[in-house]
């Protein structure tokens, strides 16, 4: 389908719209990054003295950044569409011979969309965390990291060159490590943080290689040169760069085959999961691919790989989500699957870029809402995450129930909730094209919608519907398995936690519809993603929509029958082969262990052995010989002046004798 689209849209795609230098309000864009960065620095440097007020400083820094971003948005709206790509030069960063990198920010509709999403959702999560982390002694450190996370993500999306983007990319990776391992006192959490970091490193390697390829090809790494000069570059080079960028995106966005870290990343506090999944981390891969659109447009092979990766991850995540009993891990699997949708859309070429970002924005709202809801449930249930021990919570936590329901309906794609507008468009776009591709990818996207409906409804019904499966202290029969559980007193969370959830729920309900009126979101992104004509899918639009809704309804009904009508067993049933595989993340960890970890360990062990025996043996042996030699020679040093004099005399006589002997 990529090639057919390319013929439809020759050079009409206005990617390389000339950028204009920043002036007036827009030249203050550096404040976007500086504010949260200053917040993080203050909180980390002032230390324990800031414990009393540090969290509010963190909220303030994030909120101020949002306000600056909103002002930028207004300023950008005031310009004609062609002038909306603004560059702000900050300083000469690396003036090194051929490579001359300037640090600068690019403010355009795409980066500003991210800025608004990251700072708005980020601020809500900050506020939520004030209450959620209230009893944690390290709350100040937590807020410092949150601010740093926002700052790193803003560097990533605002950078005007791939190198500065890489700085933000690494920053995001580092902070995710710090936050996933926030409760590092438990080994499992520290291991999860390490796993996320290492999986990300593999992706980072891809970005590094892409950077080197760009420098070798263009002699520069800034967006204007690289993306504007695509025409003069061979398709092979573009494919190589594209594939490396995809590897980077796979690491950061938890796409197949680098997705294994995402489930374990649930070890962090719940607001961190919300932040990672909605705004600051896994979205970076989608951003990278959409930003690098011209490269992928010039490399149809790489584009096809992007779509395949997206399609695999979409189904992969959905299957895993169907079997997880841990509420956070089920949500993590759903993120994997939804990001799969976005990557798939981004791989479809120009028709998909705006849709990928659109779904990213709506997903940011409902996924953040769902995670904050899950955090609220955990808050009320004594940090229990096993959904088999929830049930009937809707009467105990009304606000959480209602806001979670909004997020649930949105992710299902039930009209008129946000997810319907974005996901349905992606499914439609997946059906556009010629040959086998629309049929395969369209079907996958369609099936994904049904699976999503099933596993998200499963989460929803297991948590809020059905019978109580927790120990409420008085009605539980003594001696049963239930009575051995700690007594739960489910209660609604404090207001500071509920309000952010309500705001996100409103976003989940209305944002998608509002932004779809007259295609306002696509028009807004056009200066970056290019203008796209309408395309006819291989199936009629109404048929696709009906099929999608029918599958969603089927998934929902199935989950209702299984998890709301029928009793849910507290003890995990054995399940089918597929269920057991899905519980173990489809054996991804085992595959990684067998293919990479064990050979790696073996290699390390043999290297250690070689080092001990060969290198240490040689060095140590030489030293040993020298010691022995020294012991022998030392004997001649008696310390008596006369013996030295005797030696000199003997030596002199010997010398004279030799001289004389040679003369004669």
């Amino acid at each position: 389908m990529t090639s057919s689209i390319a013929t439809h849209l020759p050079a009409a795609v206005a990617f390389s719209t000339a950028s204009v230098p920043a002036e007036g309000l827009l030249s203050l864009a550096w404040l976007l990054v500086a504010l949260p960065l200053a917040g993080a620095a203050t909180l980390l440097l002032v230390g324990r003295r800031a414990d009393a007020w540090g969290h509010w400083l963190g909220v303030l820094a994030s909120a101020a950044s949002f306000l600056v971003g909103f002002a930028m948005f207004i300023a950008l709206l005031g310009r004609p569409a062609d002038d909306r790509i603004v560059n702000l030069h900050l300083f000469d960063w690396i003036p090194a011979g051929n490579l001359n990198v300037e640090a600068g920010l690019q403010i355009d509709p795409l980066s500003l969309t991210f800025v608004l999403l990251v700072t708005f959702v980020g601020t809500l999560i900050h506020i939520y965390s004030v209450a959620y982390m209230e009893h944690d002694v390290d709350r100040r450190r937590f807020f410092a990291y949150l601010n740093l996370f926002v700052a790193a993500m803003l560097v990533l999306v605002l950078a005007d060159s791939y190198l500065l983007l890489f700085v933000g990319w690494e920053g995001v990776g580092l902070v995710s490590y710090l936050l996933i391992g926030f409760w590092f006192q438990s080994t499992a959490n520290a291991v999860a943080a390490k796993k996320a970091f290492i999986a990300n490193r593999i992706g980072d390697l891809g970005l590094l290689i892409a950077l080197m390829l760009m420098f070798a090809t263009y002699g520069a790494v800034d967006f204007t040169t690289v993306l504007g000069g695509v025409d003069g570059v061979s398709q092979g080079t573009l494919t190589a760069i594209g594939l490396m960028l995809l590897l980077a995106a796979c690491g950061k966005s938890a796409q197949f085959p680098l997705q294994s870290w995402l489930g374990d990343a649930m070890a962090g506090p719940t607001p961190v999961s919300a932040l990672i999944h909605a705004a600051t981390m896994v979205t970076a891969g989608v951003y990278l691919i959409v930003r690098s659109g011209p490269i992928f447009d010039g490399a149809p092979d790489a584009q096809l790989v992007v779509v395949i990766v997206g399609a695999i991850t979409l189904i992969f995540g959905a299957i895993i989500g169907c079997a997880k009993d841990d509420i956070k891990k089920a949500l993590a699997a759903s993120t994997m699957s939804q990001i799969g949708y976005m990557i798939l859309a981004a791989g479809l070429g120009p028709i998909g870029y705006a849709l990928a970002i659109f779904h990213l924005v709506t997903h940011g709202f409902f996924k953040a809402g769902l995670f904050l809801g899950a955090g609220s449930v955990m808050h009320g249930m004594g940090d229990q995450v096993n959904m088999r021990q929830f049930g009937a919570l809707r009467t105990y936590m009304k606000a959480t129930y209602i806001t979670f329901a909004f997020g649930w309906l949105a992710i299902l794609g039930v009209p008129p909730f946000s997810g319907f507008w974005s996901k349905d468009k992606i499914i439609e776009a997946a059906f556009v094209g010629e040959g086998w591709r629309p049929w395969v990818f369209g079907t996958v996207a369609l099936l994904g919608a049904g699976l999503t409906a099933f596993y998200m409804s499963r989460v929803f019904f297991m948590t809020f519907f059905g019978a109580k499966r927790w120990n409420d202290g008085h009605k539980t029969r003594p001696g049963t398995a239930l009575s051995k559980q700690p007594v739960q007193h489910p209660h609604e969370s404090p207001r500071l936690m509920v309000w952010p959830m309500i705001v996100l729920a409103i976003g989940s309900a209305a944002l998608g519809g509002l932004l779809s009126i007259g295609n306002v979101f696509q028009t807004w992104l056009e200066p970056v993603t290019g203008h796209v004509e309408e395309h006819e899918p291989v199936l009629a639009v109404w048929l696709i929509m009906t099929l999608t809704l029918a599958l969603v309804a089927a998934g929902l009904w199935l989950a209702y029958v299984q998890y709301a009508k029928a009793p849910v067993p507290v003890v995990v049933p054995v399940g089918s082969v597929l269920t057991r595989a899905a519980r173990k993340d489809l054996y991804q960890d085992d595959v990684n262990d067998a293919l990479l970890v064990e050979p790696g360990k073996y290699l390390t062990r043999s290297l250690v052995y070689g080092d001990r025996q060969v290198v240490d043996g040689a060095v140590g042996g030489l030293g040993h010989i020298m010691v022995r030699l020294g012991e022998v020679v030392r004997r001649s040093q008696t310390g008596y002046v006369r013996s030295y004099a005797a030696m000199m005399t003997v030596g002199l006589v010997a010398l004279v004798a030799v001289v004389l002997a040679t003369r004669i």
Partner: protein, 99 residues
């Protein structure tokens, strides 16, 4: 007088000086041995200067004397100092470098 006589005398003097240095323990006596060796060399220098009718050998002998005089001054000062601190003039007692 033949050259051989001078050479034998100088060699004898040098051998006596060298044995004194190597065998005696008293620092003063060792010093005297050194002086003996220097004077044996001086004797040879003067002898050869005379034989060749060249004055440079005698000039060098003067240099040796001057240097020897300076050396005696410093050497005796050191010996006196060692004697004062260690109450001994034996060269075998001065073996601190060994340990």
């Amino acid at each position: 007088m033949s050259l051989t006589n001078y050479l034998v005398l100088a060699s004898l003097l040098f051998a006596i000086g060298a044995s004194t240095v190597l065998l005696r323990r008293n620092a003063i006596v060792v010093f005297m041995g050194v002086e003996l060796m220097l004077n044996a060399t001086n004797l040879l220098l003067v002898t050869f200067a005379r034989m060749h009718g060249d004055l440079s050998g005698q000039v060098i002998a003067f240099f040796v004397m001057v240097v020897a005089a300076a050396e005696v001054v410093i050497g005796l000062a050191i010996i006196v100092q060692i004697f004062r601190t260690r109450r001994s003039a034996s060269v075998d007692d001065v073996n601190l470098l060994k340990s």
